[in-house]
């Protein structure tokens, strides 16, 4: 099978000219990005900028119109089912709402990848589950159902499930959305600790500027399906691009209106 493991300096993730459509509407218009090993990359953008769409294509949930996504050296659009299966054991994903299976306890949720992909005995799986739960500060919660957890706990439990297989690459969708500032800050700390402890490469999709500045090595800013800028936190802060400055200072965007188009929208059947 094609290499899932890469040499030390090869990018963990590489996106080239990614173009995607939703029906007839073009969503991503040629996105390029690379993520190096051990890096934390934040994908930022306003609502509707295409960042959730980008994430779903990075995860291989849909087929792009054109362009390619390489994860750990494997082109996911051209990979065979067996290669993809192998690749997915090396990738962890924490979804925005947690996506914990509501019919299982937290512990069973976290153990599921182990149960499906390994032949470990029950006791070992239990110990590994508890270790990951301790890591995300949820020790002792393994017997609760997901519905009994708060928003922040759900995100941490989802994180524990995402890292149970010790993936090389971790995706985290909106870690701080819907959380109070203190819990959000704790989660940021946790992401940093995970990178240091487990040597993971982490891609975070977020719209929270403060969180991105705190954890990211580099930030990629998406707007209307295009990459506006990719750079370190300082480079982004010092950028003179008006739209980036507007985002940094939370200024509402000015919308240019084409009078003809506006009239047509109002009067059409």
């Amino acid at each position: 099978m094609a290499s899932v493991l890469t040499s030390v300096d090869d990018p963990v993730m590489e996106v080239q000219d990614l173009v995607t459509h939703y029906g007839a509407v073009q969503i991503l218009r040629g996105v390029n990005m690379t993520v190096s090993p051990g890096e934390i990359m934040a994908i930022m953008g306003r609502s509707g900028s295409g960042k959730s769409t980008l994430l779903s294509y990075l995860l291989g949930l849909h087929r792009p119109t054109s362009g390619c996504v390489r994860l750990l050296g494997l082109d996911i659009a051209r990979a065979s089912a067996a290669e993809l299966h192998e690749l997915r054991k090396n990738i962890g994903v924490a979804f925005q709402g947690g996506a914990m299976f509501s019919s299982m306890t937290v512990g069973e949720n976290i153990r599921l990848p182990l149960r499906e992909h390994t032949k470990l005995d029950e006791k070992t799986m239990q110990i590994m589950t508890r270790m990951k739960l301790e890591l995300v500060n949820l020790g002792g919660f393994e017997h609760l159902m997901p519905s009994q957890l708060s928003g922040g706990m759900l995100k941490r439990a989802a994180l524990a499930r995402a890292i149970i297989m010790d993936p090389k690459l971790l995706f985290f969708d909106e870690p701080s959305a819907g959380l109070d500032p203190v819990v959000a800050a704790e989660l940021d700390e946790l992401i940093l600790r995970l990178r240091d402890a487990l040597q993971m490469t982490i891609v975070v999709v977020t719209h929270e500027l403060s969180s991105a500045c705190k954890i990211a090595d580099r930030i990629m800013i998406l707007e209307k399906g295009c990459v506006l800028m990719t750079g370190t936190v300082d480079e982004v802060r010092n950028s003179e691009n008006e739209r980036i400055q507007a985002m940094l200072h939370r200024r509402p965007g000015t919308k240019e209106i084409d009078p003809d188009d506006y009239l047509q929208r109002l009067t059409r059947d």
Binding site: L59, E86, K89, V93, S102, E116
Partner: protein
């Protein structure tokens, strides 16, 4: 996209075409689901991604064992009802005692599988659609896929297999319950001995009659599982979408069951 110049009749033709394409698409999707889930049942172990026995058993418990009381009550009631109607009709010809034959044949060939099918469609087909629909909405299906767990293998294969085992089993049980219902009423009404009733039933029934019911029930099982699952997977639009899919799953599977019943009855009796 509908262009504004199109006149009304053309629009209806366009709508008809679109509906037809959708229907064909859905048929293809259901067929693909069936093939893929059977593929995992057969080749799962070879690819080190087996369909887990515990999931099959747990589905068998909810679909089958959990339905025993309600199947018994309804089938018993249908047996009694058949006896009442049969005796009433046959009295016209003064042939009340022939009711035993009527009950035995109509229960095993028709009412057992039909009642069980409709009941399981309402009870488990809807539950499947709701479960998978909710999982779709809350990104749990996506979570399965990115974990490298094929949702068809993990969710559909166990449900389909459990359905294919439990619906015929319940149908057989339903046959017994309905025959018992018929026996209770007939023996009381006609003053017939239970033993005589049983003997007459056994004399009339051939293995073929029971097999005919069981073959139909296997088809119903496939319909319930696939319609439930495909509606679940196609959910869009949050909780309302889940509600819509659940209702659609029940209505469609009951309709397909009745239609399939008619077709199979025709061919099995040629």
């Amino acid at each position: 996209m509908a262009s504004p110049e199109l006149k009304h009749p053309l629009l209806s033709v366009q709508q008809l075409g679109r509906t037809a394409v959708q229907a064909v698409e859905e048929c293809g999707y259901v067929a693909a689901l069936l093939v893929e889930s059977l593929y995992w049942v057969v080749f799962g172990s070879v690819r080190h991604q087996p369909v887990r026995l515990p999931s099959i058993f747990s589905q068998m418990m909810t679909i089958g064992i959990g339905a025993i009381p309600i199947v018994f009550v309804l089938s018993f009631a249908v047996g009694v009802m058949l006896a009442i109607q049969g005796i009433h009709t046959l009295r016209i010809f003064g042939a009340e005692s022939q009711v035993v034959i009527g009950i035995a044949l109509s229960v095993t060939r028709e009412f057992g599988p039909l009642i069980t099918g409709v009941l399981i469609a309402g009870r488990s087909g809807s539950a499947l659609a709701a479960q998978i629909g909710t999982m779709q909405v809350s990104q749990e299906i996506d979570a399965l896929r990115v974990m490298g767990i094929n949702p068809v293998r993990y969710l559909v294969s166990p449900a389909l297999l459990a359905m294919l085992i439990m619906v015929p089993t319940l149908t057989f049980f339903s046959d017994l319950a309905a025959l018992f219902g018929g026996a209770v009423y007939s023996t009381v009404e006609l003053g017939l001995g239970v033993e005589a009733y049983l003997q007459q039933t056994l004399d009339v029934l051939a293995a073929d009659d029971i097999m005919q019911g069981l073959i139909k029930s296997v088809v119903f099982a496939g319909i319930i599982a696939l319609v439930g699952v495909s509606n679940g997977f196609s959910v869009t639009g949050g909780a309302e979408g889940v509600g819509r899919a659940t209702t659609r799953a029940v209505v469609l599977s009951i309709s397909y069951i009745v239609l399939a019943d008619m077709v199979f009855t025709y061919f099995l009796n040629r």
